[in-house]
């Protein structure tokens, strides 16, 4: 399994470290050609305006949309969540529109309001997940087909829609690898279904 991490700007190395720990091959994706070489893509935390502009400038946006439509799993964390949303609250910045959600940027406030907390995550059992929120967004509205996986203060912070996953927090900044494992399961599912349809 080869997982790409979008490496235009932000915390891509941290995602790679965890993916490698979990036995995946990883590549840093900076060019559109590389999108054909991967089985799944993580869009990391960073500045969503910066990543969005670079994605358009270097023509990665169309490629990501095409691959996601074909069923390739895509996981956006923090800035990545904003970029994969269909809609961004009061904002016209570039986006991929892969998930039926409205993202709210910097929704918890500035850096002095950034926080860590324990989350109950659907499908992860009783053991809470320590989650790091840095100038974080949340999902203001989740539309049809979106499965809400975790909330904090009545706000949606983790969700899935088919092959697309989004987290408002940074699973790459803690030692708990369960969220990445969830994403790897998604990739395995998609690889298996491709194999069976090829038969």
């Amino acid at each position: 399994m080869r997982v790409g991490v979008l490496a235009l700007q932000g915390a891509f190395i941290e995602h790679e470290k965890i993916l490698k720990e979990l036995g995946c091959e990883t590549i840093q994706v900076r060019k559109k050609e590389q999108l054909e070489e991967i089985d799944g893509l993580i869009i990391p935390g960073g500045e969503s305006t910066t990543i969005g502009k670079l994605m358009e400038e270097f023509e990665l946006a169309e490629g990501i949309k095409k691959r996601a439509k074909e069923g390739m799993p895509v996981f956006g964390t923090c800035a990545g969540l904003i970029l994969i949303a269909n809609d961004i609250f009061e904002c016209s910045q570039p986006r991929l529109g892969l998930m039926n959600i409205v993202a709210h940027r910097n929704a918890f406030g500035r850096q002095v309001d950034s926080f860590e907390t324990d989350l109950d995550v659907k499908g992860l059992g009783d053991q809470p997940l320590r989650a790091v929120f840095i100038r974080a967004p949340y999902i203001k509205e989740a539309g049809e087909g979106v499965d809400v996986l975790a909330m904090h203060d009545d706000k949606i912070v983790l969700a899935r829609q088919g092959n697309i996953m989004a987290a408002a927090f940074h699973p790459e900044l803690t030692d708990d690898t369960r969220i990445h494992s969830m994403f790897i399961d998604l990739i395995e599912e998609s690889l298996n279904s491709q194999q069976s349809s090829a038969k």
Partner: protein, 294 residues
């Protein structure tokens, strides 16, 4: 349990800035240009370093009105500078809601002996360093991000290169050193021992390490990235050049694609004049900003 102002959160924001360009701005209009060009953060200032250098006198924290206007103008993180040792300027900046404080040698130091105790703040700090010892002393005081000092306001990258090479060389030295030599090494560079141990284990600084001080072209930014830094500060280099918008955009692209020489050639085309440069040997020792702090 919910916690704020933790080390993970302070260090974490710097991780999110990696591979990006942080630009000095003095007005909300400039801040918008920087954001539009793809800056991952802006540094709110009253004057850019080149103008501070030209004006002489005492350089202080920016007027809170300027900082607040810039905070309101953009959605990306906003940093601001406090004088070395001036913890009240830092308290004021924290209360204004800035996302990172630069305890900076660009301003006139307020304390020649002691830097700010950065652990006491909820807002994270970035500090300048010329070598490993200086970087680890600042981290020991609570800095969650390090940058080279370089020589600000010169448009001359030579000092940033010197400082980055120095830090990298000392990290390699620590990595190859047997454990029993580390305490003596820590003593010789004046660094906290536990942080020297961390450097040996990690093979890098325990926090994000940016380049700053003299970066003026896309090639300068890519040079610093290839030397191993995590991202770029551009001070006077953008708004002291002929075409700030084009140059800002080109430096952002060069920082992402720092290993792609064809692309670097492409983005370096037709940017107009860079800021006028200063030869370091023409600057009297007492006017070298990098000598401020210890």
């Amino acid at each position: 349990m919910t916690d704020k102002g933790t080390w993970t959160l302070k260090k974490g924001l710097a991780e999110m800035l990696k591979g990006g360009v942080i630009m000095d701005v003095t007005t909300p209009e400039q801040a918008k240009i920087a954001e539009e060009a793809g800056a991952c953060a802006v540094m709110a200032l009253e004057r850019v370093p080149a103008d501070i250098r030209a004006a002489g006198g005492v350089a202080r924290m920016a007027d809170p009105t300027v900082v607040t206007k810039i905070v309101d103008a953009v959605t990306i993180p906003v940093m601001a500078k406090a004088r070395i040792g001036h913890f009240v300027e830092a308290q004021i900046l924290e209360s204004l809601g800035v996302d990172y404080i630069d305890e900076s040698e660009v301003l006139t130091p307020a304390d020649e002996q002691f830097h700010i105790n950065k652990h006491e703040f909820r807002v994270p700090f970035v500090c300048g360093a010329r070598n490993l010892g200086e970087a680890l002393r600042r981290i020991g005081e609570g800095a969650a991000m390090i940058r080279t000092k370089g020589e600000p306001g010169t448009g001359n990258v030579v000092e940033a290169v010197r400082h980055m090479r120095m830090v990298m060389a000392e990290i390699r030295l620590v990595q190859n050193m047997p454990e029993e030599e580390l305490m003596t090494f820590a003593k010789s560079i004046g660094a906290p021992y536990d942080l020297v141990l961390q450097v040996k284990e990690l093979g890098r600084l325990p926090v994000v390490n940016f380049a700053a001080g003299g970066i003026a072209t896309p090639a300068d930014a890519a040079l610093m990235m290839q030397l191993g830094c995590d991202g770029i500060f551009v001070g006077s280099g953008i708004f002291k050049s002929k075409d700030p918008e084009a140059r800002a955009k080109a430096i952002v692209a060069a920082t992402t694609h720092y290993n792609d020489s064809k692309l670097l050639a492409e983005v370096s085309k037709g940017l107009g004049e860079a800021m006028p440069g200063l030869d370091i040997s023409q600057i009297p020792d007492v006017e070298r900003m990098q000598e401020r702090g210890w």
